[in-house]
């Protein structure tokens, strides 16, 4: 699988390493990937939320 590099503030990266270890992740990279996936799935859900809102708005009581 192709990999890309990103830059992260050193202080934050130190925290990432610390909490990745504490939480039982095998590496800081795995922890970061997991966090990003979780956030992305939230945005995906927000899309469907928008769709629902669009459908509810015909109700007249809301805008």
């Amino acid at each position: 699988m192709a990999k890309e590099k990103v830059k992260i503030d050193k202080n934050l990266m130190d925290k990432v390493r610390k909490y990745a270890k504490l939480s039982g992740y095998s590496s800081a990279e795995e922890f970061i990937a997991h966090c990003l996936e979780k956030e992305i799935s939230k945005i995906d859900e927000a899309d469907s939320e928008e769709e629902i809102k669009k459908k509810l708005k015909g109700l007249g009581y809301i805008s």
Binding site: E49, I52, G58, G60, Y61, I62, S63
Partner: protein, 664 residues
């Protein structure tokens, strides 16, 4: 050849729809109600949505409602206890089941999914096809795809049917998809358009200033006139047959007469000419889904302006009653029978396009023309059903009383923020006129009944001005109960829930009257422990809400903050919002708060055309009750009418029904 899709296929495809109902027969077009018993007593119920006791009383005293007056003398007139909260789906469910929301499980127009905090339709749930197969660009359903009526408890006509008593139920709200029955029932409020929404109009305009991106209940499309011709697309339902789920759409063209204010619309195999300010009547449109399947709907075109700007309105696409893609009646043939007799008719719940008026796409005159179509269609069905009514029960519903009060209340009150003297001069009598129309309907019914017929006239709630709007989530934020992830990011206030910091949020407002505690173990990221912690928090917030006054008027905003556990009973109390707000007269939730937004100010003037409402405390928002038989009940409520119906037919009320007959 492109075959219109059958209902079962449409449901299977998961296109936001449908029910688990048996399909019923579609052979004989004149449907027979299943109950066979010739009853010695009959019941006719006229349901006028939102008719207010104060206005009814005032206009009766002024001699403007002679049929109502007659009934008052004959039997009686009383205010009718409404539901908590007095929203139509909740109130009509109280009436349908004889229970309160704790029993039937409908607490608001909008509920939420505690696992995602996403708002959901309270009345029905749709699931896409559970098993599909992918062929090239298409995802074909194999199994599943359902729509379910979420109201719990038996409907009174289901109980009548068990006793072989026939019933005809015309457009009762809160019955989509219609619950299983062999009686004639047509669904009403809660029935979606073909897109599965509460209604989305389309508006095609060449005027740039009319282009609005975010518009509730519709979409504005910019078009161009090139060589007296306009080309546009009419979007339809999501095509779940296709891999990327695009909107199905139909191309259409409009040819403008170079001299006269007239245009010809060409859509699929139809051509029709419209003069400026002319409605097309119903047009059937067919959305192709896959090469062998399509789905049909009906819509109306209105040519608002030809020059200098071209402006064309297209109504929300209603389910075609002649070929219903979604379940709108029992048996299925009932909708077809009415369509065959009278032609296409409005099937979407709350049919008049209040969003188009609110967004100045249609003006007052145009809105009323459209709502007159709704009334005309309904009047035709009234005559038809009265003509064959000889046994059992007939329920008949009118929505225009509610819709016109929502939109024209600003004409009654000079203090309303949206009051306009010129408009008031022209339209100040609209609400009185619709009450007088209700009176004419009642007069017609009273002239067509025999002495054994019990007539009940009822409304689900009353009405009051909507002058000031309350941003509940803003109030919660200012009082430290709700936190955003970035408290200083202005745009997050408009986004609402997706930017909420749930780890620091104790309570949130969702829906038109609901407040939920962010409860640990119930909400996905709940932080408040069930038990004493939650109990104390609920009481604290309820007390603060009831104490809160509007700095502009000095009046209380929330008259009653009902604690769900105190006011509901039944198997579904745990699903209720923890607090239900009962607003003071003149106040309502804002337009933004119900879906989670957190606008800057706690209170705002309501300058919208949507100017009357009914989200108040139940104690100040009763509906009306009139009968042609004397009754003694001191404080009749909606759920008492359910017990009354059963009592008239000598049926004992089942367990769970909390009302009692008004005739004892």
């Amino acid at each position: 050849m492109n075959h219109p899709i059958r209902r079962r296929d449409f449901i299977k495809s998961g296109l936001r729809a449908a029910s688990l109902l048996a399909l019923g027969t579609s052979s004989g077009l004149v449907t027979k109600a299943q109950g066979k018993k010739a009853t010695s007593r009959k019941v006719i119920i006229l349901g006028f949505d939102g008719m207010d006791p104060r206005l009814t009383d005032m206009w009766m005293k002024e001699g403007k409602l002679p049929a109502f007056q007659r009934l008052t003398v004959q039997g009686g007139f009383h205010s009718l206890g409404t539901s908590i909260p007095p929203q139509s789906p909740v109130a009509w469910s109280n009436f349908i089941t004889g229970m309160n929301p704790g029993g039937h499980g409908i607490f608001d127009f909008i509920h939420r999914d505690p696992k995602t905090y996403i708002p959901t339709f309270s009345a029905s749930a749709t699931a896409d096809a559970s098993k599909t197969i992918r062929v090239g660009n298409f995802v074909l359903p194999i199994k599943g795809g359902t729509v379910k009526n979420l109201r719990q408890g038996k409907a009174f006509w289901q109980i009548l049917e068990e006793h072989d008593i026939p019933a005809t139920i015309f457009k009762i709200p809160a019955n989509y998809p219609p619950v299983s029955s062999k009686e004639r029932t047509l669904s009403g409020m809660g029935t979606p358009d073909l897109l599965g929404s509460y209604g989305r109009f389309r508006y095609y305009t060449t005027e740039p200033k009319e282009i609005q991106e975010d518009i509730g209940g519709g979409e504005v499309h910019q078009v161009y006139v090139i060589g007296n011709r306009v080309e546009a697309k009419l979007p339809g339902p999501i095509n779940t047959f296709k891999k990327d789920r695009p909107e199905a759409e139909i191309d259409f063209k409009v040819f403008i007469d170079p001299q006269n204010p007239v245009a010809k619309v060409v859509i699929q195999d139809q051509e029709f000419i419209l003069g400026e300010k002319e409605w097309s009547g119903w047009k059937r449109v067919r959305f192709p889904l896959i090469p062998s399947q399509s789905v049909t709907g009906i819509c109306m075109f209105y040519l608002k302006e030809v020059r200098p700007n071209f402006k064309l309105y297209v109504s929300p696409i209603n389910v075609d009653p002649g070929n219903p893609a979604l379940p709108i009646s029992t048996p299925e043939s009932y909708a077809k029978e009415l369509e065959k007799k009278f032609g296409p008719f409005f099937t979407k719940g709350l049919p008049a396009d209040t969003s188009a008026l609110d967004n100045e796409i249609l003006d007052e005159e145009e809105f009323l023309e459209q709502d007159d179509f709704v009334l005309e269609e309904s009047r035709a069905v009234l005559d038809y059903e009265l003509g064959r009514f000889d046994s059992g029960l007939f329920f008949y519903y009118i929505s225009s009383t509610d819709q016109r009060q929502h939109m024209f209340w600003r004409m009654l009150d000079e203090k309303h923020p949206a009051y306009d003297p010129a408009l008031a001069k022209k339209f100040g009598g609209i609400i009185e006129n619709i009450y007088r129309e209700a009176d004419r309907i009642l007069d017609h019914v009273l002239g067509n009944i025999d002495k054994d017929t019990v007539v009940l006239v009822m409304s689900d709630h009353g009405f009051n001005p909507f002058n000031r709007a309350f941003n509940l989530n803003t109030w919660l934020r200012q009082n430290g109960y709700l936190r955003l992830r970035n408290e200083f990011k202005q745009e997050d206030l408009e986004i609402g829930f997706p930017t909420t910091d749930w780890s620091k949020t104790k309570a949130f407002g969702l829906g038109l009257n609901g407040l939920y505690i962010n409860q640990k173990g119930r909400e996905a990221e709940g932080i408040v422990q069930a038990g004493p912690d939650k109990e104390n928090l609920v009481r604290e917030i309820a007390r603060k809400l009831e104490e809160f006054t509007d700095p502009k008027t000095g009046e209380k905003v929330v008259l009653k903050a009902y604690v769900a556990r105190d006011v509901y009973s039944g198997a579904h109390v745990d699903e209720a919002p923890d607090i239900v707000l009962g607003f003071n007269r003149g106040y309502r939730i804002s337009f933004k708060s119900p879906l989670g937004q957190v606008p800057k100010d706690v209170l705002e003037d309501n300058r919208a055309k949507w100017s009357g409402d009914h989200m108040g405390a139940a104690e100040i928002m009763p509906g009306i009750l009139l009968t042609n038989q004397p009754f003694k009940a001191e404080s009749p409520a909606l759920y008492d009418l359910t017990a009354t119906i059963l009592d008239v037919f000598g049926i004992e009320k089942p367990e769970g029904m909390i009302g009692k007959t008004i005739f004892e």
